[in-house]
Symmetry: C2
Subunit: 193 residues, 2 copies
């Protein structure tokens, strides 16, 4: 097990309905030393790529992506979720369905912060059905930017997102891929990588 | 002018209606080197305090607060905005009115991440009418935690929030206090500190 898998086993909580709670260290309370280690690990995995900018989506992606951007020495841009129908022409827009909240959001990034031929590393905390990640990829492609890869902290390997996005040809690196969880026993099965 | 005021003059944009856009370096695209400098500056200003945890509110506060937490070597907890009426008993809740979006949100923090006698440093990007900050203070007080101070990146000195919260006896440090802005000329007047 790597450092993240060990931490998930130690502090993650499996709830019924395939819910994995990691809010004590990742997405409500954040262990900053862990964030720094995640930043260094993504730098190791994507270090051979040209990365001009790191991109993520609010809210819980921001803290993680900030430390990845620090490692690469580049700016971070975070997409915003918006309910408003009237987005002006200055924004790249993608429509994203939330698996957790069962609603649709528009995801927006200002055209001032994504440019043609810019090389982008996308970072997010979770990959499940892949809708948020597809939204971010779609926005980057609209800008004519180059998606160098997608760095995910925890992938739910039993959901379709990772397979869909790898099949589209994108380089996805997930620090932990959960292939199965059992709420009764609390056991988590990670994919061997 | 300090480093932040200089950056605001260089890259901030004054819009009509007393709007100050800093989205090119602070709250949409983030300059990570600036975030680190902000972290060090708050460490300098609050370094004599006992700080067990840094607290902020999603979304744009997270990136800033993460680097403050790094400087203090403590965890970050970020409050979440929720529309749901049914919050279970495991949450501290405050109701917050958004000046920007003209709506009300419930702000929540899990009771697992704030404890009696814990010493809290609250960090946020903007202080205007003070509603978000009052919500965070109210949550910390509900937990029986001790609010050691509030670190704000940009305070709108012509709005009431800063005065209200200082009058309540809290130690507020704002890296830049904007006393006036003129959209036509683009000029920004900072308070001498």
């Amino acid at each position: 097990m790597n450092f993240l898998e060990e931490r998930i086993v130690k502090d993650g909580v499996v709830k019924s309905g395939n819910v994995l709670k990691v809010d004590s260290f990742l997405n409500h309370q954040m262990d900053i030393a862990l964030m720094e280690e995640i930043g260094r690990e993504f730098k190791r995995r994507f270090g051979s790529k040209k990365v001009d900018k790191v991109m993520t989506i609010e809210a819980s992606g921001i803290g993680i992506a900030a430390f990845v951007a620090k490692e690469f020495g580049v700016p971070l841009v975070f997409a915003k979720k918006s309910k408003s129908i009237n987005i002006d022409g200055d924004m790249f827009v993608a429509e994203v369905e939330s698996f957790t909240h069962k609603n649709k959001n528009q995801v927006i990034v200002s055209k001032r912060f994504l440019h043609e031929n810019e090389h982008i590393l996308i970072i997010d905390d979770f990959l499940a059905n892949g809708c948020a990640l597809q939204g971010l990829i779609s926005i980057a492609e609209s800008a004519g930017a180059v998606v160098e890869g997608c760095g995910i902290v925890i992938e739910k390997g039993f959901q379709i997102g990772g397979r869909v996005i790898r099949n589209m040809g994108y380089h996805v690196e997930s620090l932990a891929i959960v292939d199965a969880m059992d709420a009764e026993s609390g056991t988590i099965t990670f994919r061997e990588q």
